[in-house]
Structure formats: C-alpha cells, structure tokens
Symmetry: C2
Subunit: 330 residues, 2 copies
C-alpha cells in the first residue's frame, strides 16, 4: 500500500456513496448526472457542481466568464436529463483580493447571464472568504417525464452526440503551450474554453420522447462518458466514427498532435452523449433538427462489454480516462 | 475612497442582489434565511451554506464534526422557516492531504449522520480539489404552509428565542485563548462549538400555526439577527432580558469578560429568534413545550426603529454587529 498517494476523485466518490444511507425510492441512483426527489405531482431535480479557480478557470478567463461557466457546467447535466432549470442557489467563496466592487459585479453578471440564457433565476446563496475562487452552484428544476438515466442503453442502440469534439482540448493546449494555430482556429478554440454552451434545447427536445435509452453529458471527456454509459448500462460500444471538429484535425496536424486523442480525452466539453433506439433514429434526428441542433451517429451498443474504436477495419480499445481531480494534470 | 479595503460580506451580497434578474412571484425575497420556488401543489425550498476550513472549522474540530456542522448550519435555516429537509446535495472541495480513505470516510459519515439526525438524505454531489476544505451544502425541502419571513414583525409582538446564548462564544474563547473554566464548563462550551444542534422540532411546531409573525435563525449572532428582523420588518425592538446561559455568566466573571457581549455578539449559535403575536403567546409556548423545547420572551417589537437593551431602567443601543466575512476577526 502506498501511503502518500491521494485517492482519486472516483475512489472518493465511491467511498462516500458506500457510507451514505440511501433515500428510499430515489428516482435517480448515485452517480448519474443529476439527483432527484419524488414530490406529490412531479419530481424535483437537483444538481450541484463546483467551479474552483485553480482547476476550472484557465488563464485569460474573465470572472464574468468563470461565473457563467459555473452555470453552464450545471445546466449541461440538466440538459442530459432533459430538465429545464428553474432556480439556482450559489455558494460563493471569494479570496480577499476579489472582494471588490468590480470583481463581485462581474461575477454577479456572469451568474445572471448564464441563468437567464437557460431560463433560470438565481434565487439565493451564501458568501464566504476562501483561499481560491469557489463558485459552488446548485440548480433546481422539476419534471413530470420519466427520467432517462445513464443505465438504459441496450444492445443495438445507436450512440449519438450533439456536436463535434476537440475544440476545448485544442483551446487549453493553446493557452498552456506554445502551439501553432490560425487566427480563426484560435478564436474558435478559445471561445470553446471561455464561453462554453450547454445543449439544453437538444436535451429538452429528446427527453419528451421515448426515442432515447440512455443519456449523459460529456463534461468528463467523450471517452470517459462512453465508459460510464457502458458500465451503468452493462453494455459495450463499437465506435466507428470519431466526432472530431475539422479545425481540430488541422490544428492536430499543424502541431503533431493526435486529433482522435483531442476528441476522446478532452473534457470540459458540454455535448450530450446518448443512445437512441434504432427504430426511432429518424424521429430522434428530426426532433433535434427542429431545435436547430444536430445528432451525429458515432457507433452502436454491443453485448460485448468493451468500448472499441473500429476504423478502416482495425479495432482498438478506447481507454477509460478523462479529467479526474487529484489524479490528472494537463 | 480607500482602494485596498475589501468589501464586507454584506456589501458583496447587496451588490450581487442588485445585478440579478428577480424571479417573478418569488415566495421568499433575497436575503431571508432560505430561497423558494413555487411548484404546482407546493413550494420548493432551497438553502445553500458553505463551510470553509479556515473560518468555520476551529482547531480541535474533527472532520466528522465539520461535515455534520455543515448540515446543521443549513438545517438551522430550514428550522427558522419550519421546513423539514428532505434531500441534500454536497459540493465537496478537498485539499490533497485530505484525499485519504480515513478523511473521506469521516466526512461522509458526518454528512450522513447530520442528514439522518434531521430526517434528510444525501442524494448527490460533486468532488473537487481545493486549497482548503470546502463543504458547500444545499438543502431541499417542500412545504404547503405559508412561509413566515423575516419581514412580518409588528409593533407589540413578543420577541422570543428557543434557548440561551453565549456557550459557543465562550467555547471559541477557550479554544483560541488562555481562559479559565471548570471542567464542566469546558465540556459544555466545546460541545456547543463542535456539535451544534438545530432547532428543527421547534421550527416545525411553530410554523404549522399562525402564532408567529417573523422568524430567523441566530447563526450570525443574536444582535445581528435582531437588527435583520427589525430592518426587514420595519420595526424596532426593546429587549428587556439578556438570554445568557448561567454557565456563560460564571465564565465571563471568571475571565473578566462581558456576559452580555458573549450572548449578543457571538454567532454560530443555532437558536431561532421569532416574533410572536402577543394574544397567541401561551399557545405558541405550549406548541414548543410539546416538542420538549422552550420559548423564552426577551422583549417587544416597537414602532421606534431602534434595537434597544433596557435593563434596570437604563437603555442602550444594541450594536448591529456580528460575524462578517472579510471584516471580522476573532
């Protein structure tokens, strides 16, 4: 036993879950994107996600953007369950140097802008002095729909995503390293890092239907969330298309990077990753198109419980890695 | 203008509130103990309060106690509105040195113990790496009752508290200084600091009635919350009894401290401070007695908008001070 090695985020979460008394009739199990409480006529949905200065606010990100991002991170989880957020409470931790009118105004504006962008209101919170910027945000909403969990994928279902991947990973490499990129690429990638969007319209459209069998958001990286869907649904996936953005391919070849890696192992991208019942594929696609989104098929669920990338006749395993607190470094 | 002075917590909160879009038909205004969302058949209640290692975890407090305290801090606000908490989501920030099996287990057990003590379940959360311990907890519950706000006190109402004050202030002075105390005092005061209780039974009993006109909890200190009730209800108070615990009086005289100061300006005490309609006083007292609690009258609401201490015929102002992040020091 190595005494000095800290537990990883996932070990910590597992350990905590084991110690907790499980609420009877929980509509959503531990470890899914959101939590839920049964009410009389509907189900209350809660999600808390903490933005931490040191790990979630890359250099060059303004406080307005950091506060807005804290909202987007949480809304993305609501999107993955098709829940419209209605209210937000904010736990704010400010280092002393940010306790200024200018900084606080920027943070408040970022929170409000993010909230209103997705139809929610900030209704309360708590302010504290902390060593680093902390925006611990809790989202609240309700639904009468059945919740689509991470655990419903079945053999033969089509795996689909709501957009292309790799822009955020490319953006972080621009910010943290000396990389080549055109002005256009730079703008696109930095925008992905500083002003992420959640796929709420797509999530709301799909979750009203019975076309999808499992759903999550991709904030921990595409590879990681495919493994999560596989693990919780007790299936595997064969992925036959890498949903990488064309500019990311160009950026990768300019900088001797692997575009597939940028797409699979990035994280902090807020696409939805879903499994669609094959007989409902066209209908699901039409629902997403109706809200100006797109649904890109990237593979199939399989009985064989591995996550495989199959391209041009060669097969290789997609590793179960993504960003993990205490373990990962950029 | 002094450029270097950080804003105080209350200035920060005020500034944020001014920048936020106000949700239509908010059942509880900004700045009350909890936030609320109207649902179809009931009202959803949310409260978030952040425990920060440096400011909320005094030396000698175990992680189990810190995690339980994070629950109690939030439950106390629910108690002040008479809301039974049903579910908790936790934003956890751990410094690397606390990412161990032992520490995480203690934190999980403290959260679960606190939750179950008051009838709630932890249903989800988020784990992050942070510079200092952060437990940002959000409580959820619902009610069909009308909510008793901070703003309803009227001239002539009786001000009452659910217990005696000063033990926590005495305990913190024991921890941070070289003070004299008997073994019995020491145990009592340290227990108040390390294992605080929320007055949930009292709150639930009173809020089912129409006997009370305003209500808050005393976590920011008795003086501060009297001023808050006065400000939001547009009344004043004449306090004619200092609800100080007898052991605190002894401790104060042993150590040349002012017992009244310890009772008024302590903070981190989780009593309820309420205003009771005078014609309903006996009924209110009986309700609290039925749940093994007590209701102690300490004064009256007045038209004159000052908060006055009147003892033995002499009157003095009670200052509007309590613990304030960025401004206060022990």
């Amino acid at each position: 036993m190595v005494g000095d090695e800290p537990l990883g985020e996932h070990e910590i979460i597992e350990l905590i879950h084991k110690r907790l008394t499980v609420m009877p009739e929980m509509p959503v199990p531990f470890g899914d994107d959101v939590s839920a409480v049964p009410l009389r006529a509907e189900v209350a949905i809660l999600k808390t996600d903490m933005l931490v200065g040191a790990t979630d606010v890359p250099p060059g990100m303004r406080l307005f953007e950091a506060a807005r991002k804290a909202v987007v991170m949480n809304v993305s989880d609501f999107a993955s369950k098709g829940i419209l957020p209605s209210a937000i409470v904010v736990g704010l931790g400010l280092p002393r140097k940010l306790a200024t009118k200018e900084s606080v105004t920027e943070i408040a504006d970022g929170l409000n802008t993010g909230a209103r962008e997705y139809g929610a209101f900030v209704i309360g919170g708590d302010t504290n002095e902390t060593a680093d910027l902390i925006i611990s945000l809790t989202l609240f909403g309700t639904t009468r729909n059945a919740l689509i969990l991470r655990s419903g994928a079945q053999d033969g279902d089509i795996v689909a995503v709501t957009g292309l991947f790799g822009r955020t990973a490319a953006g972080l490499r621009l910010i943290f390293g000396d990389r080549k990129a055109s002005a256009e690429m730079r703008e696109l990638f930095l925008d992905a890092v500083y002003s992420p969007k959640a796929r709420l319209h797509e999530g709301l459209a799909l979750h009203g239907s019975d076309y999808i069998s499992a759903s999550t958001d991709s904030s921990d990286g595409l590879a990681w969330c495919l493994h999560e869907l596989a693990r919780m649904s007790k299936v595997g996936f064969v992925i036959d298309k890498v949903p990488v953005a064309p500019e990311v391919e160009k950026f990768a070849s300019l900088n001797n990077l692997d575009a597939t890696d940028l797409a699979f192992y990035g994280g902090e991208e807020y696409e939805l990753v879903l499994t669609v019942k094959p007989e409902k594929w066209e209908q699901a696609k039409a629902l997403v198109k109706a809200v100006d989104g797109c649904l890109i098929p990237i593979g199939r669920a399989t009985v064989d419980r591995q996550v495989i990338l199959e391209l041009d006749g060669t097969r290789r395993l997609i590793e179960a890695r993504g960003w993990e607190h205490f373990k990962s470094q950029l």
